[in-house]
Amino acid sequence: MSDTQSKALKVKEKKELTTASEQIQPGPAFTPAVDIFETDHDITVLADMPGVKAKNLNIDLRDDVLTLAGDVKSPEGPDEVEMLTEYQTGKYFRQFTLSEVIDQSNIDANLKDGVLRLNLPKIAPATPRKIKVKVA
């Protein structure tokens, strides 16, 4: 971990969204970079979504499909004129199919400094229960 942190960051262009279906609203849409990891109890999704405010972020889980959709308001003021544009701003959209059964009522989402942290706890696996037969 320590050696990966000291390396120099390279420019990574934002990945434009490529889906079969078209977006309803025009404008660029990007797929956010994510980290997904799993422990025995939960799945955690970390997504880089700079510029997204909590109220503009939609997280949806149905039929094992997790959808992350974030709207970005352009940070520029009305009178500003562009001089140099190296990156574009736009929506973020990404979907994942989850294989594990998720406890939908206990999902926890946290958005801080443009990074979404989504905690998806797994439903505890059914523990085998021994039934004692009483002898009458």
């Binding site: 942190q5 420019v11 434009e16 980290d35 990891f37 799993e38 979504m49 400094d113 443009g114």
Partner: protein, 154 residues
């Protein structure tokens, strides 16, 4: 009979191995060519972080997307009309028992220097990080501000 059947088989031997390579290359070109048409190709210095610079009458604004970076991890300085941004993006390590499915987010150090389009008032410049977007507001020096010239009619 047997000979005829053999001769009607697809002729693997005669097919050049380069044909496959050529097909693959065409396929790649199609894929990436299609991408290049739709993706944005702005002027980029190729140095992290990418910057967007705008201006209005009073200020220049420099913006960069730095999700998860705190202001105290950034080192921003202005000398004359060159702006330098340096820092380190840290991704805290997770639980030891975590098994990764995907790891696309990257951590690392960065430093960039860029020339501003005009002279700025360095004393009044300020930077803030909101929702992972760094905004540096650089008030223009008096000499760089636009001057309205009124035409007098006699």
């Amino acid at each position: 009979m047997i000979m005829r059947r053999i001769s009607s088989w697809p002729k693997w031997e005669t097919r050049s191995p380069f044909e496959d390579v050529d097909l693959m290359r065409r396929e790649i070109n199609r894929l990436f060519g299609g991408l290049a048409d739709s993706t944005f190709r702005g002027p980029s210095a190729g140095v992290f972080p990418l910057l967007n610079i705008t201006e209005d009458n009073n200020n220049y604004y420099a913006r960069a997307e730095l999700p998860g970076t705190k202001t105290d991890e950034l080192d921003i300085s202005i000398t004359g009309n060159s702006l330098s941004i340096a820092g380190e993006r840290k991704i805290p390590s997770e639980n030891e028992s975590a098994n990764y499915h995907r790891r696309e987010r990257e951590a690392g150090k960065f430093s960039r220097i860029t020339t501003l389009p005009g002279q700025v008032d360095t004393a009044k410049s300020e930077a803030r990080c909101v929702d992972g977007i760094l905004t540096i507001v650089l008030p223009k020096a008096e000499s760089a501000k636009p001057k309205q010239i009124t035409v007098k009619t006699s």
